[in-house]
């Protein structure tokens, strides 16, 4: 498992029903491309986050496939429509099979 992986998410605590909000996410990850070689000339194996998803109350908001060219600590900023109070669920999928997730609640008001 890649070390030092920690997801971070910024979601407003409140929004009006039907509002579009901005969500920022970042996961600390080394995103080793698999193209580099170490001092002995051996290829450093690829180890990246290959997929990121965000769901709101079970409905998919965004589903991203990541490629090796994406740099360390991948950051996503996107907008989402909030029809009702609920919970955003963010999930990152690692090459090594690890799955990291975090959730954020949002209220209507």
């Amino acid at each position: 498992m890649a070390s030092g992986v920690k997801p971070r998410v910024k979601v407003p605590k409140k929004a009006a029903a039907g509002d579009t909000i901005t969500i920022k996410t970042l996961i600390s990850h080394k995103m080793e491309s698999g193209q580099r070689k170490d001092k002995e000339g051996n290829v450093i194996p690829r180890s990246i986050i290959n997929r990121f998803t965000c769901d709101f109350n079970g409905e998919n908001v965004i589903d991203v496939q990541l490629e090796p060219a994406i740099s360390t600590n991948p950051y996503f900023e996107f907008e989402a429509l909030v029809p009702e109070a609920g919970e955003f669920k963010f999930t990152w999928y690692d090459d090594d099979g690890s799955v990291y997730d975090t959730t954020k609640k949002i209220e209507i008001g």
């Binding site: 920022k24 970042l26 600590n73 950051y75």
Partner: protein, 281 residues
């Protein structure tokens, strides 16, 4: 028509040149902490400069915006790692930083005064040297390598709790001789290119150096997250990079020369806010 094209070309040309100038912008951190990025030069510098300018003013719109919000600032990832280290016991004494210093927020106001004279050591100490003194003498832990990951992250964490406070290093009293040595180094031409720090950062800030903008070389934003190497960088490592670029043999991070130079360069930014971890190219 030809004349008109000429006029347009001239406009394009002058704007391109002008774009190396510092921007007219203000930095408010997380929409609450105002950061002083432009202020009157400290008295000792008044012969050379009227105004001192943070490197933030010489960066692009996106880079400046990145630094204004802690979530967007990738340097804060390393600060978070150091915050964990702050709470984690290390060494034979079984102590962590927080065993003596409590919350890291209590260290607000420390970073702006470093490097400073240390009576016990009988020399000027940088913040990283002070950290290592704690580690080796009070924690029974191994000293961190100068400007290496754990050290630079901790320096950034200590800097982050002092953001917004003015840099205020003492240059008189026992620190004066080191400060004089640093000043000497600042104005000494080095390398095959025979460039001193001042040739670029005092005489030519606001001009282009190849494809980049020359800043005043202030270190109020250190440690700095550089987009080119995606990690935090220390002032000594930056000095080394600059001196290397003059095609000279450089001093080592943590050397007496760089300690003196850090003191002198920090004093050139007395009055600017502590910004670290800042974001630069």
């Amino acid at each position: 028509m030809k004349k008109l094209t000429g006029a347009i070309l001239a406009t394009v040309f002058t704007t391109t040149l002008a774009s190396a100038e510092p921007v007219d912008d203000t930095l408010i951190l997380n929409e609450e902490t105002p950061i002083v990025t432009r202020t009157a030069a400290p008295a000792h510098l008044s012969d050379a400069l009227d105004e001192v300018l943070s490197g933030w003013l010489f960066r692009g719109t996106e880079t400046r915006a990145m630094q204004s919000d802690d979530f967007d600032n990738p340097g804060m990832i390393f600060v978070e790692q150091a915050m964990e280290a702050w709470e984690t016991a290390d060494g034979t004494a079984g102590k962590s930083c927080s065993s003596c210093h409590n919350e890291i927020e209590s260290m607000a106001g420390v970073k702006p005064t470093y490097p400073k004279w240390d009576e016990n050591a009988g020399s000027v100490q940088t913040l990283q040297m002070q950290m290592n003194e704690c580690r080796t003498e009070r924690m029974g832990a191994e000293a961190w390598g100068y400007d290496k990951g754990p050290a630079i992250n901790m320096e950034a964490a200590l800097s982050s709790v002092s953001r917004g406070m003015p840099v205020n290093v003492a240059i008189d009293g026992p620190a004066q001789s080191a400060w004089e040595q640093g000043k000497e180094l600042y104005y000494t031409r080095t390398g095959q290119l025979e460039l001193s720090c001042a040739n670029c950062h005092e005489d030519n800030y606001g001009n282009m150096i190849r494809a980049d903008h020359l800043s005043q070389g202030q270190i109020n934003g250190f440690p700095v997250y550089r987009l080119k190497n995606t990690k935090l960088n220390g002032a000594h490592s930056r000095f080394k990079g600059c001196i290397r670029d003059t095609r000279a043999e450089t001093y080592a991070p943590g050397s007496d020369e760089f300690i003196a130079l850090e003191l002198y360069v920090a004093s050139r930014g007395n009055g600017l806010s502590v910004e670290g971890p800042s974001i630069r190219n």
